[in-house]
């Protein structure tokens, strides 16, 4: 029997088993493989514990794209990787599939994959959303292409595992196999559900009750200028509401899980299917009540009747993560989210009445954010403090000042308008250092200053700051690096040309 091993690379959510590994395991099992899985985030945390290191030892790199591992961290990781590989030395695998959840996993992959290569004769195949993080500018080799050229991996796969892995295993080539021309799956209802029996569910702390991730849709109905989801999944597709509800019921009946987290970009992209899922969950007679959380979009209040919120509550909706992005209607509209503060308030009032909690996702420093826009964002803290007091607003995500990410519409705009970025001799780019040459005073430090205003106002009105301490630690480091940086300002075109030589 063909033996496959599936790795998930850090950084990953530490509190629940990885969704992608559970999906790949089931895909491989359906190909007749004998599958094993390793969540390297979990293994790394265990190793940190045994070495009496703080679990945040790698946070500065895992959550800060411009930082690289220190020598001390590299030595630690190499020790961890060698020790881990020793534990599987006697298992002879035919294939090793490595999943990178986000671009942040590339840094770990750069250390892990060359060592893995030396320890195994298995074919090493990498994939995941972390590979799609490539610039649209110039002809730079992607992460996957570089590793393949260096013979560190046998192949990289883009697109969706349910389609790409069987194609790789049977044909060895095609859309998404060693290229970025992947095809999207049309009918998600036909795909296997994640199989969590490959993970020890008792390993995770879940921050409370056991919780599993599920995914009901892929892509997004919006195409926000700062976001690269449209590159990863150009067409928005969704499973039928009944199919999603059936999966939740399956995990409930199989594992006794009562808490679910949607990994979708948004849970309510399709009104019809979302309503069908909520109604199916509300109808099912769960002996233990279930709850679910996920990312959710606000629409105009006219398009959302009050009974929508009642339905959410009855389906077990617990917490919604809402990409508010800014307190300015103008900025929000320009970046691709045409809902207003009044719409948001209507939603907050209805969430409040139905005991549904929200976490607001925000960032400071949109490319066109004016002082007036900034003032409107500041004003949000007083206006909505009552929803913090009621417990409806559970927090505000404070990690972000705008970075212009590869593959996003903003990157193209930055190219067209000759935005400048700090870059070093290796053509590494500091993605949040961007400056519009027509507005040179609005540089990274000006944006950080605005972010500090925002944090101070949040504290004045006692808002819960999600990742607040970590954000400040990272920004202090980023500002230090920025002011001491030997990097030079260049346009993305210049960097791209230099890098391709």
């Amino acid at each position: 029997m063909i033996k496959s091993l599936i790795y998930n690379l850090p950084p990953l959510d530490k509190n629940r088993p990885p969704l992608s590994g559970a999906i790949i395991a089931n895909v491989c099992a359906k190909q007749g493989h004998d599958c094993s899985t390793v969540d390297l985030q979990f293994e790394l945390d265990q190793f940190l514990h045994t070495q009496c290191c703080d679990v945040s030892f790698f946070d500065d790199v895992f959550y800060e794209q411009s930082a690289g591992f220190s020598n001390e961290q590299i030595q630690f990781l190499e020790k961890f990787i060698h020790q881990h590989l020793d534990t599987i030395a006697n298992s002879k695998f035919d294939y090793i599939f490595v999943s990178l959840f986000s671009y942040l996993a590339q840094q770990f992959g750069q250390i892990f994959l060359p060592i893995l290569r030396k320890h195994t004769t298995a074919k090493i195949v990498i994939g995941g959303a972390g590979l799609i993080y490539t610039s649209n500018v110039g002809n730079l080799l992607s992460f996957g292409e570089k590793l393949k050229q260096q013979n560190v991996i046998d192949e990289f796969i883009t697109g969706e595992a349910e389609q790409s892995i069987p194609m790789y295993l049977t044909v060895g080539q095609g859309p998404g196999i060693g290229n970025y021309n992947f095809k999207q799956i049309d009918n998600l209802d036909d795909q296997p559900w994640p199989d969590y029996t490959h993970y020890n569910l008792g390993n995770y702390n879940y921050l409370g009750l056991q919780e599993l991730a599920i995914i009901g849709s892929r892509g997004c109905v919006r195409s926000c200028t700062f976001c690269d989801v449209a590159k990863l999944s150009p067409k928005y597709r969704y499973r039928s509401g009944q199919n999603i509800a059936d999966e939740i019921i399956h995990h409930y009946e199989t594992h006794g899980i009562t808490r679910f987290y949607f990994a979708d970009s948004l849970v309510n992209g399709s009104f019809k299917n979302f309503d069908a899922m909520c109604n199916a969950l509300a109808r099912y007679k769960f002996e233990q009540p279930i709850s679910w959380s996920g990312q959710y979009i606000v629409r105009s209040k006219q398009s959302t009747p009050k009974d929508h919120f009642d339905m959410l509550q009855k389906s077990g909706c617990d917490t919604l993560f809402i990409g508010l992005e800014s307190g300015s209607d103008r900025v929000r509209k320009e970046l691709g989210k045409p809902f207003t503060n009044d719409d948001t308030e209507y939603y907050l009032e209805n969430f409040d009445q139905n005991k549904i909690k929200v976490l607001l996702l925000m960032f400071t420093g949109y490319v066109s954010e004016s002082e007036q826009d900034h003032a409107e964002t500041i004003g949000m803290f007083k206006r909505w403090q009552k929803f913090v007091a009621s417990g409806t607003i559970q927090g505000i995500e404070t990690l972000n000042i705008l970075s212009i990410l590869p593959g996003t519409p903003l990157e193209q705009m930055a190219v067209n308008n000759n935005y400048l970025f700090l870059s070093n001799h290796k053509n590494d780019v500091n993605l949040r250092s961007w400056v519009d040459p027509t507005n040179p005073n609005y540089d990274f430090l000006a944006r950080v200053s605005r972010h500090m205003d925002l944090m101070e106002e949040a504290i004045k009105y006692k808002w819960p700051l999600w990742n607040g301490a970590l954000a400040m630690q990272l920004y202090e480091q980023a500002v230090q690096e920025f002011v001491n940086s030997p990097m030079k300002y260049k346009t993305l075109k210049t960097i791209s040309i230099a890098a391709s030589k």
Binding site: S56, S390, S449, K462, P464, A469, M472
Partner: protein
């Protein structure tokens, strides 16, 4: 400021009697019969002290007991007052906050009220302004700090780690200021 109490008075011989003061003003003085919602508009002051005093339980005075037991010693009737909810300016205080309100008993002991007045005494709390800040502190920040102090492996990163964040803000502003001064 709007104060709202959702209470249930349970009967044994008679219903519990409740007096409510806001600072020194007597704003309620009567029996609480079954589920009752009391709403008051009071002036916002820097500190508003709310006192609930009751419940006139006889405790054997003149041979009268306001608790009835069955043959097995189980309570079948009791004169008491349950606090189902307290809201301030339409914002509900949560159950754990209500449970922890201090009940000063006639014997001078103070115990958590456990969401009710099961014996004679008074429950007192002080509402400070700005009211929303006070509500958030009472409901979320103080319990977080208590939990932090009771857990040895506190990571230093919770949602209300304001002291740490403010120190970092100061440091970041200082770096930016120095950089601008050098230009």
């Amino acid at each position: 400021m709007k104060l709202c109490f959702n209470l249930t008075g349970n009967h044994c011989n008679e219903y519990p009697f409740l007096t409510i003061y806001y600072n020194k003003d007597n704003i309620y003085c009567d029996y609480i019969c079954n589920q009752t919602v009391l709403t008051f508009d009071v002036d916002s002051s820097d500190i508003g002290i709310v006192t609930l005093s009751g419940i006139q339980k006889s405790n054997g005075l003149d041979g009268k007991w306001d608790t009835m037991l069955d043959n097995g010693g189980r309570i079948v009737k009791d004169k008491n007052l349950q606090i189902n909810n307290i809201s301030i300016d339409n914002i509900d205080m949560n159950k754990s906050w209500i449970n922890c309100l201090p009940m000063h008993k006639e014997n001078n002991k103070t115990i958590p009220c456990q969401a009710g007045m099961w014996d004679n005494g008074s429950i007192q709390f002080a509402i400070k302004t700005p009211v929303l800040n006070w509500i958030i502190e009472e409901k979320f920040i103080n319990p977080t700090i208590q939990r932090r102090n009771s857990v040895n492996d506190f990571s230093g990163q919770d949602k209300f780690d304001y002291d740490y964040i403010q120190r970092k803000i100061k440091s970041i502003k200082s770096i930016i200021h120095d950089q601008k001064s050098n230009l």
